[in-house]
Symmetry: C2
Subunit: 331 residues, 2 copies
């Protein structure tokens, strides 16, 4: 019997797994998997499982992208896949995101097909697609009719960068290169909004927002680390809600409205129990690092992370990172 290779994009977590991916996992006798893969996905496989490569800091399966001599790992993987297929085995390669998106999936496809191996490609939810969950539209009528997805690893001051003239720009793997990216964009665009999304698709994601003039500084102050994705959009993202519940220290004071949305304020340094208020709130505003620390002592992080969270600035966003709390908006 002939072997078969599945090249599977698994999305960013178990919930993104498609029925096609699930079938591929269950059909396979051997699985090669991305170390960053959601462990719950791996548990669905009851066969031989081999981890791939080193632990990557970025979410995309991009080892060797654009760097010389780094393709060797993929060569080894290709040969291993061919060996299994020639033995008549069904093998799956499981990757985070979409396996053809800024990855070496195509290398494997071409190599295996040219060697007469049956290959099934399974597309998966990619990082830019989960931005919609955060209310960040990449395309929308009367505002953005084009979006480009750009590998930020390639960007340098001296090199041309493609895709910058689209209405919305999405940069993959931006963190180490944010200054160069912003430099390139500034030469092309003026009135745009910047959003750096750390851990997109995870519970403790954070959205650091700003303009082209201050996003590099804000990202530094908020201690953003890979994996992250960077969006430049003509559209200003706003908190959509009916009311905002604000938690503050008496010394900080409290706004009455944010973006035209009424604010109900609760001081954290009072004797009143806030458990019920927190539980019923949908959108929280936490002004300062002190207020954030206090709030995290008052309510479990899991409960807080089920809400939309607004913070007062980059310092509060930095505190949220330590607490494992996500941030939706920086006001």
């Amino acid at each position: 019997m002939d072997g078969k290779v599945y090249l599977v994009g698994c999305g960013l977590g178990e919930k993104h797994l498609t029925l096609q991916a699930l079938k591929a996992i269950r059909d396979s006798e051997v699985i090669l998997y991305d170390r960053l893969l959601d462990k719950r996905i791996l548990e669905k496989a009851e066969c031989k499982k081999i981890p791939l490569g080193k632990k990557m800091r970025e979410p995309m399966p991009h080892e060797g992208w654009g760097k010389k001599g780094k393709g060797k790992n993929q060569e080894r993987i290709n040969k291993l896949l061919l060996k299994y297929a020639n033995e008549g085995k069904t093998v799956a390669v499981l990757k985070v995101g979409d396996i053809f998106h800024f990855s070496r999936g195509f290398d494997a496809y071409r190599f295996l097909r040219s060697n007469g191996v049956e290959v099934e490609v399974v597309p998966g939810v990619s990082t830019h697609q989960v931005l919609s969950e955060l209310g960040i539209p990449l395309t929308y009528r009367d505002g953005s009719s084009s979006v480009s997805l750009i590998n930020a690893n390639w960007i340098s001051e001296s090199k041309e960068c493609g895709g910058l003239d689209a209405d919305t720009l999405v940069f993959y793997m931006p963190v180490g290169n944010l200054e160069n990216i912003v430099g390139k964009v500034r030469r092309r665009k003026r009135k745009v909004y910047c959003m750096l999304v750390e851990n997109a698709g995870k519970e403790d994601y954070r959205v650091i927002s700003g303009g082209l003039g201050d996003i590099v500084r804000l990202a530094g102050e908020a201690l953003v680390e890979p994996p992250a994705i960077f969006v430049v959009s003509p559209y200003e993202r706003k908190p959509y809600c009916k009311r905002i519940t604000a938690f503050y220290m008496k010394g900080d004071g409290c706004a009455r409205e944010i973006d035209g949305i009424p604010v109900e304020g609760y001081p954290l340094d009072s004797s009143r129990s806030l458990s019920r208020v927190i539980k019923e709130a949908e959108t929280l505003y936490v002004k300062s690092p002190q207020a954030l620390d206090r709030l995290c002592k008052t309510a479990p992080v899991k409960l807080l992370n089920s809400k939309t969270i607004l913070v007062g600035g980059a310092a509060t966003a930095a505190s949220s990172k330590k607490a494992g709390l996500h941030v939706d908006f920086m006001i």
Copy 2:
């Protein structure tokens, strides 16, 4: 109890359904669905089901995109969703592809959130992602580090079009506007390859390939109709295989190799039975419309569609459409 709205991207068919989408469908008491949705997806729901809008010719849920006065349908949908949510019901909107991609999903998101309704966005596999199944990479090392997705509905001779400077271009809804698109691209790019993919993600998809100089004519000759997606790439897609099995009429003659791949030829107008040859072939080459007609009388379309299919030109590609046969390559 509070209501909830799921905005669900369902991909291009049942196999693309994610676990998150499946849960949304099973949780819901009412479902509003795109008429183009795979019927097998709808069968998974055992609740009230309401079809949306008119039958669209393109695969994307793009009604009203960029056209004045066409947003009314979405307004009605939004109000209906709010009504159900206010009654405490869980509702899902099911769309083909990704619900935030060239669609009005964001309108619904913003409207519902601003009215205090809980919204869960479920990303789905989009048309450009299934191109990988056809061996069309949108990004790859040393060749394409940026890709732009462009709504071709917006493109006109007089208007600026964003995204044209990316390495790879993907146009959604291109068929009625191919001449304008190609005109725009010709001003920016020279050595590129064009692929017009009809029915991407379906069994009877066809890939019509050519250059900027002849793709409009070839698309016309091959009788391409919506839904389709148009790719402009610096990368020439080739048939990756070990050997090609060619079927021809004796008068046509037969090549010995294609793209360096050895060809084994079988005349269709001989007394020899070809059932076994067809069954065992992986990549078929059919030179002329006559040969294609004859081949379809010899073997079931379903069997032929499980192979990679190369055809001799646009006329043979046109015949394939009538026969329900997909085309991978035009030689």
